[in-house]
Each structure stands twice: as C-alpha cells, then as structure tokens.
Assembly symmetry: C2
C-alpha cells in the first residue's frame, strides 16, 4: 500500500488539489471553486471538506494519506501555521494548520502559494540544477520566492519575497498597495494591459489584431494576495499577451508599453540579484508565457544593469500552474521528515 | 590552558586582528597597516605573517590557537575559501583559506567583512534578540548582510547583500559601479559629502561651522570593496558628519542634502524589508554615528513606505569597528564546530 500526501493550493477563485506520492508522482488531481465571497469561515470549511474528501479518495484507491500540505496567498506565517492576511481569500489570522491537522488527524504544513511554487520550481522544475534560485511569478501581481538549498525564505513574519512592492520608478503610477512606483504597478500583466489602455485612449489606434496575436489569459499565477493590482479586463481591454504580440509585430504604442515593462522588470531583477546573488532566476506566471518576446529583451536589459555581479540564468518556469500544488506536497513531505 | 581563535579583518588601509576565546571574550588585539599598494602577493604574505605572529603570541601567553578566521572586502566565495575580487586590497581569485591553513596548520574560515560584521551584530550585538536581521553598513560605500538564525547569506557566488547597488533614483547620479541611481551614489557618507560640495560650489554658503558641529570621521566601516564610491575629502570638503550637524542646526542646503540621503536610504531599506522581512535592521558604519539626526527622520520615512509589511526595529550597531574582527572569530569557531 503506497503512501501519498494531500496537497491543496488555495487561490482567490479556485483550489488546485492533488494526491502525490513520496516520489513526487501525481496520483490524482481535482479542482474546486473557492467562492471567497462566502466569507472566511465558509472557505475554511470548504478547504477542510475538500482535504477530507481527498484523504477518503486515497483510502478508496488503496493509498495511505500520510500528511497534508495547504498553500494560500498573502502573508503566511509558516512557523506558526497561520494565514495572517490574505485579502482575496478573506483570511485574517486563521490558524489553518491546526484546524486542518485536528480535522484530518494528519501532520499538516501551511505555506505561501508563491513560495511553494518557487520551492517546486527550485527542486523539481526549471531551477533544479541550482542551489540558489529566485522564482518570480508575474501575473495580476508580482511576487518572488528566494530558495536556497531547497528551502524558501519566509521572513520573520511570513512576508518575504514581495518583489512586486520594491520601488523602481519614484515618479511612476501608484500601486494597489498605495505607494508610487512599485515594480508591480508597471510590469505586472495587469499593469501592462492598463497602461496600454490608458495610452490608447489618449491616442486611438486601429483595433484590428495583427496576425498571430494570441488571446491567452495572462493573469495566471502570481501572488493574488489582493495587495496586488487586480486583473480588471473589460470586454474591450487588450491583454498583456496582446500587447506583447502587437509589440512583436512592430506596433509603436505596444512597443513602448512593453519596453517600459521590460525595463522596469530588469531593474527589479537586478535589485534581486544584487541582494540575493542567485544562479538562476525562474520566471513564472502568465506574463512569462510571452516567451522570447519577454525573455530576449529582458536578458539584454538585465545584462546591461549588472556590473560586478554574476549574471544569473534567466529561464521560464517548467511546472506551469501546478507548481503551487506540487510545492504544497513538498511542504507536507518535509513536515513528515522533521516530525 | 585556554583555547582561542585567531581573527583578522583585512581592509584597504589596515588590518584589525585579535585573539578571541571560545566564549567570545577578546584576549588580545593588534592593528597593522595593509599597504595594499605593494600588490596582492605582498598583502597575502603580510596576512599570513600577522596570523602566524598572533598564533605565536597565543602560545607565549599560554593559550592554544585552535582556528583562524580571516575576512576581506569585495566578493568572497566562502564555500571555496577564495577572495574572488577585492579592488582596494588588490585580490583576484586568491585561495586565501588554503594558503592560510597550509601555513598555520589550523582550520581556517575565509569570510566577507560586512557579512562577518553582520553576523557579529546579529549574534552578539544590536540584533542579538532577533532571528532575522539585516545589517547595513554605511560608510564610503553601502553594503548589507542578511542574517537568519545566526548565518549570513552569501549568495551563489559570494556577492549577496549589495544593497548599495540597488536602483533607487533612475535619474540620479552615476555610481562608482557605472550605473545611474544606485543607493550608494546618493546615501553613502561620501555621496552626502560630495553632493553638499557640489551644491555649495553652485551656491556659496558661509564657511563658519555652526555650534556643536563635530568633525567625526564618517568614512568608517562599510564595504570598502572599491566598487564603492571612494571617500575623497579635500582639506576644504565638508564631511557627512558636518552635513548632518549643519542640517540639525537648520542650514537650508545641508537640510536638503541630508533629506535626499535619508529619503533614498528609506527607499533602500523598504526594498530590503519587502524582500527579506526581518525583525531588526541594524545600521552600522560611519553614517550611523549621526545618531538621532539619522535615525529619527529615517524611521519616519521608512514607516511612510511600509504598507502591508511589518515595520522592523531600526537600531544602531553595537559593536563598532570591531564587528568585522568578531565576525571573523565567529566564522573560525563555526569552522571548528563543523570540522
């Protein structure tokens, strides 16, 4: 009879859930809506019920659930097992680890979604050959995880890695957090779309899409902790993916907006490299799906900014939107090792 | 017969050396000139000879030298024991750990001066009650050490903690490293003095010192790795300490320069807090000697910049210019524990 861990990645809109065995192989996956509008108590009850359901599913399949890992966005105090603050899930000081371990009778780890995603990318994904990795998730917001020797830094209060809220443009737009010039206010997928919409309104352009323009959702991963600028897309709003494609097709306005975002992102990554000195920077989240249109100019811009620092490898994430759930499983397995 | 470690803090101009026992008590200190102009081979020979002399002094005093710790500025690869790059000591890829351990026959640790100073402040000094500490040395340059649970982060290539070289003012002055707008180019002691001199030349002011102006040397600690803007003080140049004093006395130009430095420093510390999330920020180096004239406005400016982050304690360093040497001793003691 094989051992598995139960893993849940709880986001503002949905939960990605899995049963994962001790070798990291995914045995079963499920998705459930979060329905955060029902309030935190209802969301907690759903999390616990889903986790119980997964444990039951394991037993039914002849598997033994041995531990539980849950990751949530926002500020998460891993050491105390408390979801300190998560605006879009509605959590404030929820002792989720204890609630879950009591309900399921399993050793439980509570973690942060982006840090867990970074952990998974560093151990199993695009950073797996590096001892020092910076994982940066760029979607509706921007957040990072600094992973050294397979452990993600949490900070003293569970708030480490807020790369989206470092100053890059003192005279830049005001961020969702209230401060001007944060990286997230310029280089997140939502900021790119918003900036393009603003400039288009000031300077109308043809609305026909150039050939090859995708409509891929770029809101994807990233810390959706509510401090992030939200992804607000009206029916007529051009997405960041479309801005990238229009820039690639040579459209002047899109080129300008995209370049502004890439330059700001390079400044943010250069600051990260100055402080962390990693071997590999892994970019995930929706914006990273822009591929060479992002990575080629970003590598050049980053190289321009590094003087005495070693240049890190800059690579796309390998695990897609499963990274957070895999990271939750890794936290659960780590919990077993230390308990 | 009591055990001691031999500790050397090698700077561009001088070496601070000590014999320190296993309880951290300093049994003997010496200072020697570095004379870096003689070239790296001669500096290495002096380091080895001074270390031998200290070991001999220990024996003569009935003490047993059990390990050696050496810290140098620049980029230091602790894992390989190599001084990778240190402009003002003239080192390039010097395998100093092996050279020293072969010569003295003692387990030897090689470290970075500011990281070692941070280690000492975090374990023994102003950060000793905190698990997560950011030590920031502000002198001729600005550098930082992130210390978690008594270990300073080194980075993948020995270059972590370069807080002086993060972007804070995209349209700011060009830094010694070649990039515009680095924190160090605005908020280091040398940058404050330089900026004041520039503006004074443009707008001459009375040269009489207001009452209470000190002439304390503010170049002090800080990463003197040569990438830093150098401390250049002509006979007529007003020091950063004097700028701080004139600002406190209400002089308009000094107030403006001091405020610019404090605001930039607050931006840099806010970025550090967003990424590291520490309990305590310890400020060392010469500029921190400005006392309340620095700490009061800096605390306010930092608080203004923190939105969802926890505010760290902001405190002056406690160990003065002995911190690097104490850190070297701690690295030597750590080496004994793990070998």
């Amino acid at each position: 009879m094989s051992d598995v861990v139960v893993a849940l990645d709880v986001g503002g809109t949905g939960m990605k859930c899995a049963l994962i065995d001790t070798d990291g192989a995914v045995r079963h996956t499920e998705r459930h809506p979060t329905d955060a509008g029902r309030g935190p108590d209802a969301v907690v009850e759903t999390i616990l019920a889903v986790a119980e359901g997964l444990a039951g599913k394991a037993h039914a399949d002849g598997l033994t659930p041995t531990a539980l890992g849950i990751v949530v966005p926002g500020i998460v105090d891993e050491a105390r097992g408390v979801a300190v603050w998560s605006a879009n899930v509605g959590f404030r000081d929820v002792p989720l680890r204890e609630l879950a371990s009591t309900r399921l009778g399993l050793p439980t780890a509570l973690g942060h979604d982006v840090r867990a995603g970074g952990l998974a990318e560093a151990r199993l994904g695009a950073g797996r050959d590096a001892g020092h990795v910076l994982f940066v998730a760029i979607g509706t917001g921007i957040a990072a995880a600094h992973v050294v020797a397979g452990t993600a830094a949490t900070g003293a209060h569970g708030a480490a890695g807020e790369l989206g809220h470092i100053l890059v443009r003192p005279d830049g737009p005001v961020c969702g957090c209230g401060r001007p010039g944060c990286l997230e206010a310029i280089a997140s997928a939502s900021a790119v779309a918003r900036r393009y919409a603003e400039l288009s309104a000031a300077e109308p352009i043809p609305t026909a899409e150039p050939a090859g323009t995708g409509t891929a959702e770029l809101a994807g991963a990233g810390s959706d902790d509510g401090s992030a600028a939200r992804w607000e897309s009206g029916p007529s709003m051009v997405t960041a993916a479309q801005v990238a494609a229009r820039a690639a097709a040579g459209e002047e306005l899109a080129t300008r907006v995209w370049r502004e975002a890439v330059e700001a992102l390079a400044d943010g990554l250069a600051t990260g490299q100055a402080l962390f000195d990693v071997e590999t920077i892994v970019l995930g989240g929706g914006l990273a799906q822009a591929g060479a249109g992002l990575f080629d100019p970003l590598r050049t811009a980053l190289r321009d900014r590094l003087t005495f620092h070693r240049e890190p490898r800059l690579v796309p994430a390998a695990l897609g939107d499963e990274a957070g759930c895999l990271g939750a499983a890794l936290l659960a397995l780590d919990q077993l090792e230390t308990s």
